[in-house]
Amino acid sequence: MAYVAVKGGERAIDNAHAWLAADRRGNPDVPDLGLAQIREQLGRAIDRVMAEGSLYDQDLAALAIKQSQGDLIEAAFLLRAYRTTLPRFAHSEPVDTATMAVRRRVSAVFKDLPGGQVLGPTYDYTHRLLDFTLAAGTAPPPPATAHATGAKMQRVNDFLVHAGLIEPDAPAGTTPGDITRQPLTFPAPRDVRLQALARGDEGFLLGLGYSTQRGYGGNHPFAGEIRVGEVTVEIEPAELGFAIDIGDITLTECQMVNQFKGSKTQPPQFTRGYGLAFGHAERKTMSMALVDRAMRAEELGEDVTAPAQNVEFVLYHSDNIEGTGFVEHLKLPHYVDFQSELETIRRMRAEADAGKEAAE
């Protein structure tokens, strides 16, 4: 692809950006939107921008959302660009979701389980009717409280693992791949696939996950468990030589339980798909777990027939920053390319006309 060097247009660009800034501000009679308001009141947008921007920082996400006028892909792009300006100090110890301070935990496979079904702050069971009291700015009543036992919430999968009914976690091991450092290559191991899915576009993953449910690479899922809450992030600074907490982050985890796999040596077991993402992101992690399981088709000896099972297709198209870059670059000048196409089509038409005249 060739681009033609175009001079000029600077004044137009400057003026366009000045208008953009005024347009972003909107009617100056309306109070300016504060970052704290975005952070506190548009939490799900913050979560999505952090997940797809692959950078956990609520204040930066709030700024990005304000700057992009709420265009969340643009906002994620801003976070991705910002992260390139910072050095990486360390990687964390793997976070332990079993010790999560759970705000929400539901299982669709067991009704009664230790720790119980905890609904947390959920949109489930709301009637999706517009609430005009919000438009009026009415303060909500304080949430109810009840005695908390403080017991650790065991993962639902652990019950099935103990009974041998589900595949256990693969043994912990090597240093994981990192797509921010090494280019994606195939076959991509599951650690790399999960990293790509965790930052993948929620809409794309939702569509793919939905396609598996509708029969394109179906694997009969149950939501074994979804949990949302805070986990501690620990690092081991080289200068200290011991691990320290640097703070807590909100994560959502989804464990999908899927239909069986067995062999001559092993009785049938449920198989699993896994989803984990920054913030409160149930739709994202559920979709991720469906797609993660679908991409394990080859490993589990299933036919690879559907888009969601095609690892290369999924991973090359799940990143909305890359996708938006390539789709939107089409609006940049392609004057020379198009000139050559014009010449080609004129020549073809001239040849066709000449052929017609010769035939007459």
Binding site: S92, T97, A101, G116, V118, A146, I246, G247
Partner: protein, 152 residues
């Protein structure tokens, strides 16, 4: 946090964890009423960078890279001790203050007073905040009308 085998290091881990979770305003208010800290000599930072957060495949399997988070670190010398802070977010002032407090807490002459003035109240507030969140969650726990034995 995985507590270290050495009690001295385990105690330091605990107060560093409390400092990492402290909010700027409450830290500033508490330190104003604490015994004065020695003037620090900054050895490194405060500087903002990234930590790559790792998860585990399936929750308990091998590690994978989930995404990055911002972090601020600072190392300084105060008197005879070296203090350090690594704190989530872009918080240079808080990182310096936390490192100064970390240095002060390692000084046996200052430890008890500083701990009582800063760490103990912070820890109590953080525990109360966690308990409040847990209590809200507990109120949304479903109580089924008929309880059956779970089958596995």
């Amino acid at each position: 946090m995985t507590p270290h085998a050495s009690p001295a290091i385990a105690a330091r881990q605990t107060w560093m964890a409390v400092l990492a979770r402290a909010e700027a305003a409450e830290l500033a208010a508490l330190i104003a009423n604490a015994p004065p800290l020695p003037e620090p000599v900054i050895l490194r930072g405060p500087e903002v960078g990234l930590v790559m957060v790792r998860g585990r495949i399936g929750g308990g399997g091998g590690p994978f890279n989930l995404g990055e988070m911002t972090v601020t670190r600072c190392t300084l010398r105060a008197g005879a001790t070296v203090g350090h802070a690594s704190i989530a977010g872009r918080v240079p002032e808080r990182a310096v203050l936390a490192a100064r407090i970390d240095a002060g807490l390692q000084d046996p002459a200052r430890h008890d007073a500083l701990h009582a003035a800063v760490i103990a109240p912070l820890a109590a507030r953080q525990a109360a905040k966690r308990a409040e969140s847990a209590a809200k969650a507990a109120a949304t726990r479903v109580e089924f009308f008929t309880l059956q034995t779970m089958r596995t």
